[in-house]
């Protein structure tokens, strides 16, 4: 399958990339790891008029702790994130999630910024960013994750705005991410994450709606002393997931409850 023709430009700095996006207009897309964009282009579900390749921008793949925050550069690849000692020590759930994205070949290409900007509710990083109150930093501003994911594949990013890094809180307490899928390299049919931050549980869900979901009702029940299995019953409160080839809405809600219970119980 051959993508439709497009104009191609390489940027060597964020400023240059933004200028190119300004010049090329709304139909231009940013090319990072390309592992969501290129498949969409091959299927011609996406036909951007132009691509701005940001892979050559130096210094955008940083992974560092500053104070109580973990900064992950937009071009940090999954393989870097899951093998980073810094991530393993400061936010181990992120390292574990990165190790389960796609397969080796995908992890060698796919990036933090790409996953966040793509805004796929089946992506794993958006769930973590939302439940941990991460900040999405762009060339223009800092956007809290809760204001970032707007709708299906829709984020708060403007056409000429580029994610430069994602800033997570340092959290190395009990945690678990469970990704339910039929094959090892698949997207989650449903995913559930639990992470203790400053003594309080944060709970997030993947692929149960148009955006990632923070399971506040579960968090509140746990805070009031409910057992994991009781609290997890609230995981499907307010959910209205779309059915797909792999799961009906009812089944996804069932999975949300079961996986949430397991994530909390297995967190360590």
């Amino acid at each position: 399958m051959i993508p439709a023709a497009f104009e191609y430009a390489k940027a060597s700095s964020v400023d240059e990339a933004v200028k190119l996006l300004d010049r090329l207009g709304e139909d231009a897309k940013v090319l990072a790891g390309g592992h969501s964009l290129i498949p969409l282009m091959r299927l011609r579900l996406a036909q951007p008029k132009a691509l701005v390749d940001i892979n050559g921008i130096k210094g955008l793949d940083h992974i560092e702790v500053k104070g109580s925050k973990l900064h992950v550069g937009a071009l940090a690849r999954h393989v870097q994130i899951h093998s980073s000692q810094t991530v393993k020590e400061s936010l181990p759930i992120l390292a574990e999630v990165a190790a389960e994205v796609g397969d080796n070949q995908v992890r060698n290409m796919g990036t933090m910024g790409g996953v966040i900007a793509h805004g796929d509710a089946a992506g794993d990083y958006p769930t973590l960013a939302l439940m941990l109150d991460a900040d999405i930093v762009t060339n223009k501003r800092t956007i809290p994750a809760r204001d970032f994911f707007k709708d299906i594949f829709t984020t708060a990013l403007a056409a000429n705005e580029i994610v430069t890094e994602v800033v997570f809180p340092v959290a190395n307490g009990p945690h678990k991410y469970i990704k339910f899928r039929r094959r090892l390299f698949d997207w989650a049919i449903v995913g559930a994450a639990a992470q203790k931050v400053d003594g309080h549980w944060r709970v997030g869900l993947t692929n149960v709606g148009p955006t990632p979901v923070r399971a506040k009702a579960v968090e509140d029940a746990l805070a009031k002393g409910a057992k994991p299995e009781e609290a997890a019953q609230h995981a499907s409160d307010g959910l209205n997931p779309a059915g797909d080839l792999r799961a009906s809405p009812e089944y996804k809600k069932h999975l949300a409850r079961v996986l949430t219970k397991r994530a909390i119980e297995q967190a360590q």
């Binding site: 051959i2 023709a5 290129i38 498949p39 691509l51 390749d53 397969d103 080796n104 290409m109």
Partner: protein, 171 residues
């Protein structure tokens, strides 16, 4: 508009003018003429098109040729040296790690990357390391055996010949 691509493939330099939309796998097969890299699913799942770019295994159907400009590529054709099969190729032969053979180049390139990262993998680590490659004949048992056998040859008896062959284009 065409773009210049200058790449080193299996130690040899190549330079072409290509359309931006040309996928790397089509560049390798149709422009350079290296047809050992196969197109399987065309949806980034099957891994038949796996090659190494700067020593890292990637799916060449999910990268544009223009992105490879200035990089070092190794394809299945770059593994055998002076008519002698790479230890992983030999192991796939010895252990019958293939049935129809269509997925084999991708599996061998993925296995080469796996053994670079982890020269002595367990069976589970091999299966996980090859998760990005599909064999529609479902010949996984012998594929795993082949990688185990190659790991012994490459790690045990000395030679890093196998490994340096894998990265010859990349270093």
């Amino acid at each position: 508009m065409k773009h210049k691509v200058a790449v080193t493939i299996n130690g040899r330099k190549h330079e072409h003018e290509v359309e931006a939309r040309l996928l790397l796998v089509h560049y390798l097969r149709d422009v350079v003429g290296l047809t050992g890299t196969h197109i399987g699913c065309d949806t980034s799942q099957c891994g038949a098109c796996t090659i190494h770019v700067d020593g890292k295994a990637i799916k060449s159907c999910t990268m544009f040729a223009v992105q490879a400009d200035g990089r070092n590529l190794t394809t299945i054709e770059g593994l055998a040296k002076e008519g002698k099969l790479h230890p992983i190729q030999q192991a796939f032969w010895d252990e019958h790690g293939l049935q129809c053979g269509y997925c084999t180049p991708g599996f061998i390139m993925a296995a080469a990357y796996l053994l670079e990262q982890n020269p002595n993998p367990t069976e589970d680590e091999i299966r996980r390391g090859l998760e990005g490659n599909l064999c529609r004949c479902t010949g996984y048992v012998n594929i795993v055996k082949s990688v185990q056998s190659a790991a012994k040859v490459m790690g045990g008896a000395s030679t890093t010949a196998g490994r340096s062959a894998v990265t010859a284009g990349g270093e």
